[in-house]
């Protein structure tokens, strides 16, 4: 009797397992004759809210093409989810959280559709994105697999109260000014021998993406807009990179940045550090979690002899269409819908994120928003001087190599900046060579 039960249980179990291993099922269309497309936005509250509004409008005005919005499944990173989805052929039709640094992985596997194959791509893209910037989003084969959507330039946030209390009137513009102000701002407020207010702080663990908020934007700023590679050759082993390592080495060795981990919350929100390097998304965070905090935004500090505009990196997130789609033309129509000026205004209003547009400061549609949000104007002004990522493979490993050297040199002062940059470049070349 028990055996018969066991057999039955095993049969049911086997059927369930085999059913689970079945191939992806097409989602039933809400009504016959309607095309259904799946759209994955980023899984944060503001972007879900934005996507919800846009999809609602689209579905009302386009009865023949139904969009099903589903935030990207939560994981350690969007890139992991998308790679797993490409491997499992479970990608959506459209995704608006494509990080250019990971694009090579997706295109190498044939996971994305080249958007420039749509006849109106050039006219739509050039009406929105400055030509010079658009070029940086083309892959090595000349195709454009991503539509530049939002730029989010990384800038310096500073705590006005902490600056004022230390006798600092304005945000530092150069390394010397930063270090001079840091000397005043960094202090022990309760006399216990421990520093309570720091000029700045960075996660000291050698985690590759942390360098996207210190070394990389500072290098772009110091070098006048250069990225790590030029025509697929490693070119960051220059004087600018050495100056950046030297600057951070001084920040740590003079005690202006702690060589430790902060516990119990964001030290900028807790007013334990006076400066913070982040994108415009931070404005909403500060307003929500530290409403009384007096803060300003300024371009990143640059070497004392720097000439010309101050560039930075942007935490670019773009839109792509996956090659698993059976309706590329309809998907492209939806992409165009997402990037209209009206919907870029919604991106600003709901998410406080900067669209990649050349007319942010001139288009009257955006004037009211920037008038109401003067801080965001700074990000809009910075947007034209923002660089993305090089379209090369293995960027994560390359940033890991830089991270290791940054830690040894800048954080722990065990190597000279020139030596550390030379070693980082050597390792980068080995990585590129190995992976060719």
């Amino acid at each position: 009797m028990e055996l018969r039960h066991a057999q039955k249980f095993f049969q049911v179990f086997l059927v369930a397992v085999l059913a689970g291993c079945g191939s992806r099922q097409e989602t039933a269309n809400p009504s016959s004759g309607t095309i259904e497309l799946t759209y994955w936005p980023a899984p944060n509250i503001q972007e879900i809210q934005l996507a919800d509004s846009l999809v609602h409008v689209w579905n009302r005005t386009h009865p023949a093409i139904h969009i099903r919005m589903q935030p990207i499944p939560v994981s350690q990173s969007t890139e992991e989810v998308l790679l797993a989805a490409i491997a499992g052929k479970t990608t959506p039709d459209i995704c608006s959280n494509i990080w250019p640094g990971a694009l090579h992985d997706y295109t190498q596997s044939g996971g994305l559709i080249p958007l420039d194959t749509f006849p109106d791509f050039d006219s739509v893209a050039s009406a929105r994105v400055p030509a010079e910037l658009l070029k940086t989003f083309r892959s090595a084969d000349g195709h454009c697999f991503q539509f530049p959507w939002k730029s989010n330039p990384v800038m310096m946030f500073y705590n006005k109260r902490l600056f004022r209390e230390a006798g600092v009137d304005s945000a530092p513009r150069t390394y010397s000014e930063f270090l001079r102000d840091a000397q005043k701002v960094t202090r022990d407020t309760n006399g216990d021998g421990q520093t309570d207010i720091w000029m700045g702080e960075r996660d000291i663990r050698p985690i590759w993406w942390q360098r996207l908020f210190d070394f990389y934007p500072f290098y772009i700023a110091a070098s006048g807009g250069k990225t790590l590679f030029t025509a697929n050759a490693v070119t960051y082993g220059d004087e600018s990179a050495v100056k950046v390592f030297d600057f951070f080495q001084k920040c740590y060795s003079y005690g202006y940045f702690p060589r430790t981990f902060f516990q119990g919350g964001d030290p900028f929100l807790l007013e334990k550090k006076a400066t913070h390097f982040a994108g415009p998304w931070e404005v909403a965070t500060i307003e929500k979690y530290a409403p009384g905090l007096e803060f300003g935004v300024a371009p990143l500090p640059v070497p004392d002899d720097h000439q010309g505009p101050v560039y930075t990196t942007g935490d670019f997130k773009n839109i792509s269409i996956f090659s698993t789609t059976t309706h590329p033309r309809e998907a492209w129509e939806f992409v165009k819908f997402l990037v209209t000026a009206e919907h870029d205004l919604l991106l600003l209003e709901i998410c406080n994120q900067i669209p990649v547009r050349g007319d942010l400061e001139t288009n009257p549609l955006f004037a009211s928003y920037f008038h109401r949000n003067p801080l965001m104007t700074k990000f809009a002004q910075q947007a034209p001087y923002t660089r993305g990522m090089d379209a090369v493979p293995d960027l994560k490993e390359i940033f890991d190599a830089i991270s290791q050297e940054y830690e040894i040199c800048a954080v722990y002062d065990r190597k000279s900046p020139a030596e550390a940059i030379r070693d980082a470049v050597d390792r980068t070349r080995s990585i590129v060579e190995w992976n060719q």
Binding site: L3, A6, Q7, F10, E80, L83, A84, I86, A87, D105, Y106, Q108, S109, G111, D192, Q194, I204, R205, P206, I207, W208, P258, R259, T260, F261, F262, Q263, G264, D394, K396, E397, D400, Q404, E407, I408, V411, Y412, R414, W434
Partner: protein, 293 residues
């Protein structure tokens, strides 16, 4: 008669196969298939999304020239050298205490075992708070008695010993249980005979308890070695492998290669080589300890 016997036997065989089948399926899916796949991967380049590319022994060549792999091996050995003796001494000491006729000894046994059942990530986050340079309880205690603060996790000299202390605390409960079983299996007559011979407590410990616990010690050293080689959660959560790669364990390095950098072939090569190293070390260890005893 023989026909009936065969029919019953066949039925029994069928039942036996049915009962072992779930494990066989599990073994095929989660042990045999990954192992064979890893061996295939060793000779290929693969980043999950693109087709595999046959590269012969290039993954091995890369491994031989990879200083970080050898650095991670060195770090793992340093961890083992601190962790294993500490684990054995602490577990044995506590087991002897808990074997004595103490009040509430069952309560204390449960308390010492508790970290074993708590998630490794939770324990690690807890210790991150304890080890914090500026705000940690340990440094606050040191400061309050006039001693300097210790950079537990942010100095290359302290980071790995700090992790070893934490790992010992996390796992000590299971080894206390093993030692308690060993201690309770020592015949009381041996202690009585030693007492009649006038042996002191220390002599009883070194000449009765310790030799009788040898099989348990062997088991604990081997288990600690295998556990120590798989050091991952602690450096992953606490230090990310830093400072200056001093806590980059081999498992963490393999994980980074596979899941950060998508070098599945290279990670498989490191994984298989590392498994061979573990087997060799455990084999040598076993022979040496058995020969000694």
């Amino acid at each position: 008669m023989r026909g009936r016997y065969l029919s019953v036997k066949r039925k029994n065989d069928r039942q036996a196969y049915l009962f072992v089948m779930p494990y066989v399926l599990y073994f095929l899916a989660f042990v045999a298939y990954p192992l064979i796949f890893s061996i295939v991967l060793m000779f290929n380049r693969w980043n999950i999304v693109t087709p595999m590319e046959w590269i012969g022994i290039r993954n091995f060549v890369r491994m031989i020239h990879d200083p970080l792999f050898f650095k991670s091996l060195g770090n793992t050995i340093i961890f083992l050298l601190i962790h294993i003796p500490l684990q054995v001494v602490v577990a044995l000491g506590l087991a002897i205490l808990l074997n004595a006729k103490l009040k509430f000894r069952f309560f204390f046994r449960a308390v010492y075992f508790m970290p074993v059942v708590v998630s490794g990530v939770v324990v690690t986050i807890l210790w991150q708070q304890l080890y914090s340079f500026d705000y940690g309880i340990l440094n606050n205690i040191l400061s309050s008695i006039g001693l300097p603060r210790i950079p537990w996790l942010v100095d290359a000299a302290y980071a790995m010993p700090s992790i070893a202390i934490m790992a010992t605390w996390k796992n000590v409960g299971i080894y206390i249980v093993l030692f308690l079983v060993g201690l309770q299996n020592i015949p009381a007559e041996l202690y009585e005979a030693a007492s009649l011979d006038g042996a002191s407590k220390a002599k009883k410990f070194f000449h009765v308890t310790l030799p009788m616990l040898n099989p348990t010690i062997i088991a604990i050293v081997i288990l600690s070695t295998i556990g120590g080689f798989s050091l991952f959660i602690e450096p992953y959560v606490l230090t990310g492998g830093g400072p200056m790669q001093s806590t980059l364990s081999t498992m963490l390095y393999i994980y980074n290669q596979a899941f950060y950098f998508d070098h599945m072939g290279y990670a498989a090569t490191l994984g298989i080589v590392f498994a061979i190293i573990i087997l060799t070390v455990v084999g040598i260890q076993r022979r040496v300890i058995e020969a000694e005893t």
